[in-house]
Symmetry: C2
Subunit: 192 residues, 2 copies
């Protein structure tokens, strides 16, 4: 039942599956998402998940890796003064197209060890890059305190993303990038 007009293309099919999986995993979580859901969204046969990603776990790890890459791309050396607006943009999801914020997916857990390592490595590097903008260096005497503050900034971004995607808490859920830039600027200024 190959879709007419779309030729057989392994790479494209793989990417379609990955995109569908990222959305499902981010929105519904790992356990609540069925491989059949993902395959149906992608308009593709279930068995192809195991063919291209070995297992549901493998697909999930690929999603985490992709989200981590996107996040690294987004935060590629931004000056401290613009951090607030980049975060506001990130959490409102205007960054990566129609996909929900990568931060939400990064928090989903499958219970698998390898997936956990990807997740934590991504979050750690994010918080360190953030701290570095405020002068953080690993060997600085009060390094931990500054890193903790950067992680609280990250936590704010995570919290907003999560509240926006898992609840309909108004006015936060419908707030625009512009609405959030002001508050975020205050948070960043007060912490870093």
């Amino acid at each position: 039942m190959t879709v007419k007009g779309r030729p057989r293309d392994a790479a494209k099919t793989r990417q379609t599956l990955l995109a569908a999986a990222r959305r499902r995993f981010a929105e519904d979580g790992y356990a609540a998402t069925t491989v059949r859901d993902i395959a149906d969204d992608a308009g593709v046969n279930v068995a192809l998940i195991n063919r291209y990603f070995s297992s549901k776990e493998g697909l999930f790890e690929a999603c985490l890796r992709a989200a981590g890459d996107d996040l690294r791309r987004t935060g590629g050396d931004v000056p401290l003064e613009r951090v607030a607006e980049v975060i506001a943009q990130q959490v409102t999801g205007l960054a990566g197209g129609a996909l929900p914020s990568e931060l939400v997916l990064l928090l989903r857990s499958s219970g698998d060890e390898k997936a956990d390592q990807i997740r934590i490595a991504t979050l750690r590097s994010s918080s360190e890059r953030l701290a570095a903008l405020a002068g953080w260096r690993p060997d600085h005497p009060e390094a931990d305190e500054l890193l903790l503050r950067a992680q609280v900034v990250l936590a704010t971004a995570v919290g907003i993303s999560v509240l926006r995607s898992m609840t309909r808490l108004e006015p936060l859920a419908s707030s625009s990038e512009q609405d959030l830039t002001g508050p975020m600027r205050d948070v960043v200024r007060s912490l870093l």
Copy 2:
């Protein structure tokens, strides 16, 4: 196979199940948690879940209600100056005994409509109480902006709880109530 020494006591069994469920649902999420897991943790037969809570969904709703009640108890009229330390206490889990922070459970979703209503009602009242401390009134001209700022404070608390419980991001994951009070005070001051 009733445990020797523990007499038959419906109320106690119900509470034991509820406590086990709250921990499991908060730590692993709704879909990843099995009713058999909960029953085993509670040292009780699986069928009792359906007897006392009608269904897995019913048990989950009871958990959300209980977490909401605890949260309301915690935040019972605190002056604005002490909000930061109460939040620091809440997210480090020192408040409700050995249970993980209620905020994490409040974010777990089962896909059920009724559960979603409980969740959002709790979060909404929390953010409104927070905003009210900063002078918020529903009919005030810039009510929405202030409420949004209060929800960003709530988001910070949620983000910290989530990052602490779902990752081992250091130094945030091992930070103490004292470590977090300073940063939280800065956040609250800058937003409210």
